[in-house]
């Protein structure tokens, strides 16, 4: 960590030089302030993850030792756990989990974003009881997933509200496409408000005179939305969508609580890894988690590169010192 504390030296006027000396001091000081956070993350997140990756490369064999004739566990380093993911019976299970993870993410984030933006557009207007409405759409987001899973299980039960309203007799929480739909609906209910809130925050930063100018130029509401509101709120939206995607790719609680463990139609990579671990196939579970992590990292990378998500304000030249 000590290598990161040197201040960049810029040859400049005497005033600059004095400032740089001060910066070198603040650099060391900043590293000092950062160190507790880095330490906690390294110990509590970094170390377990590294050991999980290590675990994924350890292969345990259960065999008879030829010299002693005893049954022994032997361990060696190899890629067998990864090879097993893509071969034979497990391959179809893996691709199923991969497919579910992807479809949940794409469909969920798309619907949530559309709904969220609509909600933000409405909440951005002044109307009676705006605070109350804003607070009540936040409720689904704030409520524990253990409870929202329960609530939706109740709504989707055979004699439940969903079937009554739709005049259907679907067994939502059993295997099949409808289980996927049930999880998606619950997920949208839970997280669209969060996107709405972040989008609202973005909308509130658009100055009013931009809209005035558009009105003077004779721009209709539709055109104003596509040409002004959306581009100006884009940075906020991109960050919100990215955050949601990272979360959706790791989806675990909802399929688990609503439908159950190891159900084909709603199995995600996270629940599958959990299932492997709970059956004591640690190496395999670790391999799945590692693959999931690589997938998430790839999505995040592409997202940041293509849509230019400005997460840390790189584009905005920081504060001038």
């Amino acid at each position: 960590m000590t290598t990161t504390v040197q201040a960049p030296r810029k040859p400049a006027t005497a005033g600059r030089a004095r400032k740089n000396r001060r910066n070198a001091g603040t650099g060391r000081f900043a590293a000092l302030l950062l160190s507790p956070t880095v330490l906690v993350l390294a110990l509590v997140i970094g170390y377990p993850i590294v050991s999980a990756v290590r675990l994924s490369f350890l292969v345990t064999h259960n065999g008879i030792n030829p010299t002693t004739g005893m049954v022994e566990n032997t361990t060696h380093v190899g890629v067998d756990n990864y090879a097993a993911i893509f071969s034979g019976d497990t391959a179809s299970q893996f691709w199923n989990a991969f497919w579910n993870t992807t479809t949940f993410t794409v469909a969920g984030v798309f619907v949530e974003t559309v709904l969220g933006v609509l909600m933000a557009l409405i909440m951005n207007r002044a109307f009676r009881g705006r605070g109350l409405v804003r607070a009540s759409v936040l409720v689904p987001w704030a409520i524990p997933t253990a409870i929202s899973g329960l609530l939706w299980k109740w709504i989707f039960q055979s004699e439940g509200i969903a079937n009554t309203l739709l005049h259907t007799h679907i067994l939502w929480t059993t295997e099949g496409f409808h289980a996927w739909v049930a999880v998606l609906v619950a997920d949208v209910w839970k997280t669209a408000p969060f996107i709405g809130l972040l989008a609202l925050a973005g909308l509130q930063m658009i100055p009013g005179d931009v809209y005035e100018a558009a009105k003077v130029d004779g721009s209709g509401p539709w055109r104003t939305f596509w040409r002004i509101t959306l581009p100006l709120a884009r940075p906020a939206l991109v960050v919100a969508v990215l955050f949601r995607m990272l979360d959706a790719l790791r989806m675990f609680d909802l399929p688990f609580v609503l439908i159950g463990a190891h159900k084909h139609s709603v199995e995600t990579l996270s629940t599958f890894a959990w299932y492997e671990a709970s059956n004591l196939r640690y190496g395999s579970a670790a391999a799945y988690s590692t693959v999931l992590f690589l997938y998430i990292a790839l999505v995040a990378f592409v997202f940041v590169k293509v849509l230019g998500a400005d997460l840390v304000g790189r584009g905005v030249s920081g504060r001038k010192s």
Binding site: V44, G46, S136, T164, R314, G318
Partner: protein, 270 residues
Amino acid sequence: MRRILGVVAWLVGIAFFFPVAWMVFTSLHSEQAAATNPPDVTAPLTLDGYREFFGASTGASPWPYLINSATASLVSTLLVVILAMLAGYALAIRPVRRWTDALFFFLSTKMLPAVAGLLPIYLISQRIGLLDNVWLMVVLYTAMNLPIAVWMMHSFLREVPVAILEAAALDGARLPTVLRRVILPVAAPGVAATALICFIFSWNEMLFARVLTGVVAGTAPVFLTSFVTSQGLFLSKVCAAATVISVPVLAAGFAAQNKLVQGLSLGAVK
């Protein structure tokens, strides 16, 4: 036009709030009234569900679990806010490339699937004898919320005008004073939003709590799942349990929803 939008907004709000309102409504009914289908709206209200949840007839009290949840959430939130303020301050006063890379490193830990860390964490805590210990949850929740908190605090603290900091430095103010007297007032909405989000996330966390805690350190969501397994047929009792467990996060959300939007618009989206 404005009136229509208001009505639409209200309808959206009600649609999202409805399932939760229904849950609270059911919790106030007797078991017989709660079980009727279609539900009887005129049935008399009662607090029996709550009495049962707090163990009126079984003697099993949910209080230890609620206290565990409160301890884990409040202490970890406090730690996160302190650590994130220091780190966010450091990143905000040194906005050079290397430090934005550091910030990106913090954010990237958000991508790690929790399931991946779970197994090693279980084995490690077993070895050092921290299984089923509420302080393990405090440490885990602190680490879990730190990345997003650092990122949020950084965005908020970037808004503190440099001139104020320089004036404070000229006056010979030391760091604790600067943090408390200069930065905290300016960044207060941000701190509130960060703390609120961390509190909600820790209160709601279930995956780690389920695997790493048991009878001693079990948190409220863990209690709820076991309560549903044993009492699942008693709708009003289960709804009462769910309502009690939601109250802290709902109260926090309602109290601070304004600050949350303000805080998020202040920094998180820039």
